[in-house]
Amino acid sequence: MDSAVKEETFNWFSMFWEGFTGMSKLGRTLWIIVIIKLIIMFAILRPIFFPDFLKLQVNDESEKAGYVREQMIERSSFDSGK
């Protein structure tokens, strides 16, 4: 088997093509799960439920540090005289 394999030049494309087209039912099921999961995560959860919180609070990138600084000072025990 090894010598037969060595005679043929390794081809990434044909490996993937034959691999995907010849997948078992299990393989196809797993790929469907992976694709659905990635769509849910990146097309639904991320944009709708997980925005960049700091971007929503400030007008541009340079203001992020100032916002966090204010938050830290506000939450500090010293600020409320405790």
Binding site: L30, M41, L45
Partner: protein
């Protein structure tokens, strides 16, 4: 339900991270552990040419693939949460976290993704050695991924190699090797990876035991048990060694965590290690006179030995860490909570003054205030806290999870030794009791694996970054209702994924190897 609705955003954010990290950690250890085992089996096939080993390796590769496919990208959910629920933390540590996570994504993940395609599609297309190399590289890629994530986590436990910049509000990396090579990172990596190896071994022995119970594919099962048992025994011995290393590191760098792990309220010289104990639920305050234990069996002096390599060393308890006054390993005297808080407040006041001075163009004043911040930065986090009890993690949870984990570790050393003995004497196939123990031990391995992380992460509370940033300063101002909604969404999504994994895995196991 009322309790859930009234919980704060901090609680929900913590709970969400714990939920998603816990689910993620169901899949990762099996990838790391089963990866090595299937690679060992394929190595035996390539060396011996025995087709039975090829079929054995291929079966475990299928289960590896199921676990990998279901688990892939579950870790990315954690990164989503950094930007939304933990935005202050995210900016604060961006320069430190960014590097390890970027390396993890670019190097490790692509290594895995590239060679996993050859591993699954490349049988009969590449040479035996190329395929074997691909299998090992998939495992190496997964292990490298784990390394970089653990470097990031280790930095949270022991922040080094950085300087705080009050202009950018970031911890800026000044020494990459201090971060990547910290003693906490090294130890955490070895302990986590070897524990995953142990889980993989327990999984293989457990599944193989099921085949023996059903009297199916017995030759395959015994062959698998042979490899997994040796691998498991070595792994759990390494777990014990690296666990000892962990105890040493935690003692040096996170004394409050160690005290919580041991339920140690009053420090002592020649402190013993609690082997088994029952905490007293009536113990409410760290400084009351109530005995913290209802019952305990202690191994004399072992905690001092593990923590300081000196059987008579003083191990501080919770009260000592709060009250200070004891001698630290570097010879200095430990500060009290109040003293640390004073320094933290100095840093916070200086930060406010720095902001004011910069806005008014008073550069000299700003430079002076910046020096005050940096001089007191080691205690920055204490400035957010008010009471002594704020620095105490959940002692019962940390204590019981730690002791369960250690007991299970000891159990598995014994378990693999016994299974190995029975296998060598050709008694394994007839010992129904041991087969059932093997099967149910899979659950123990998963529980111990999860509990280890509970110890690591609950034990570091209230800190997201030890001494520098507590959770209440790290969390975003996101409404609790929003976080609760995503918590429920994740609980549903991950439960569905877990059910899918278990269903598909069981179906494939029932189908059996292709012999």
């Amino acid at each position: 339900m009322d309790l859930l609705l009234n919980a704060t955003a901090v609680g929900w954010a913590r709970g969400q991270f714990a939920l998603t990290a816990g689910y993620h950690w169901i899949f990762v250890p099996l990838t790391l552990g089963l990866g090595v085992i299937m690679a060992i089996m394929e190595t035996i096939y390539v060396r011996t040419g025995d087709e039975k080993w090829k079929k054995t390796a291929k079966f475990w590769q299928i289960l590896f693939g199921i676990n990998f496919a279901i688990g892939v990208a579950t870790g990315i959910i954690l990164e989503f949460q950094f930007g939304t629920n933990w935005s202050n933390y995210s900016l604060f540590v961006g320069d430190i976290f960014g590097a390890p996570l970027a390396i993890e994504g670019i190097l490790a993940f692509f290594l895995e993704a590239t060679f996993i395609s050859i591993m699954f599609f490349g049988w009969n297309r590449v040479s035996k050695k190329m395929h074997l190399a691909s299998t090992w590289l998939v495992t190496l890629g997964a292990t490298l991924s784990a390394f970089w994530i653990l470097v990031a986590n280790a930095w949270m436990q022991y922040p080094v190699g950085m300087e705080f910049n009050p202009d950018t509000m970031r911890n800026e990396m000044v020494d990459f090797w201090a971060v990547a090579g910290s003693s906490i990172a090294m130890n955490k990596f070895f302990h986590t990876v070897t524990s995953s190896w142990g889980l993989g071994a327990a999984f293989v022995v457990g599944v193989s035991s099921w085949y023996l119970i059903k009297k199916r594919h017995q030759d395959f099962a015994l062959r698998s048990i042979k490899i997994a048992t040796i691998f498991g025994l070595i792994s759990f011995i390494l777990i014990a060694v690296s666990g000892d290393g962990s105890a040493y590191e935690v003692t040096q760098k996170q004394p409050m965590k160690l005290a919580a792990m041991e339920g140690l309220y009053e420090g002592k010289e020649g402190a013993g290690l609690v082997a088994i104990g029952l905490l007293n639920p009536k113990k409410e305050a760290y400084n009351d006179d109530i005995n913290p234990y209802l019952f305990k069996i202690e191994i004399p002096k072992l905690l001092s030995l593990m923590g300081y390599r000196n059987i008579n060393a003083f191990v501080p308890g919770i009260k000592d860490v709060i009250d200070g006054g004891y001698t630290l390993p570097d010879g200095t005297t430990a500060l009290s909570f109040r003293e640390k808080r004073e320094r933290g407040l100095l840093a916070h006041k200086a930060l406010a003054d720095y902001q004011q001075a910069k806005s008014e163009g008073r550069d000299t004043d700003a430079a002076n205030f910046e020096k005050v911040i940096k001089d007191n930065y080691s205690y920055f986090g204490y400035g957010f806290l008010e009471k002594e009890k704020d620095v105490i993690p959940n002692v019962p949870l940390t204590f019981y999870m730690f002791h369960f984990m250690v007991l299970v570790g000891g159990y598995f050393i014994l378990f693999f030794a016994v299974v190995w003995y029975f296998h060598q004497k050709k008694k394994m196939e007839n010992s129904k009791v041991l087969q059932y123990i093997g099967l149910w031990s899979i659950l123990l391995a998963y529980l111990a694996s999860q509990f280890g992380w509970v110890v690591a992460e609950v034990g570091r509370q209230p800190w997201t970054i030890q001494d520098v940033l507590p959770v209440q300063a790290a969390v975003s101002g996101v409404p609790a209702g929003n976080v609760m909604t995503t918590f429920i969404l994740f609980a549903v999504l991950f439960t569905v994924l877990l059910v899918a994994e278990v269903t598909i895995m069981l179906k494939q196991i029932r189908k059996g190897p292709d012999f």
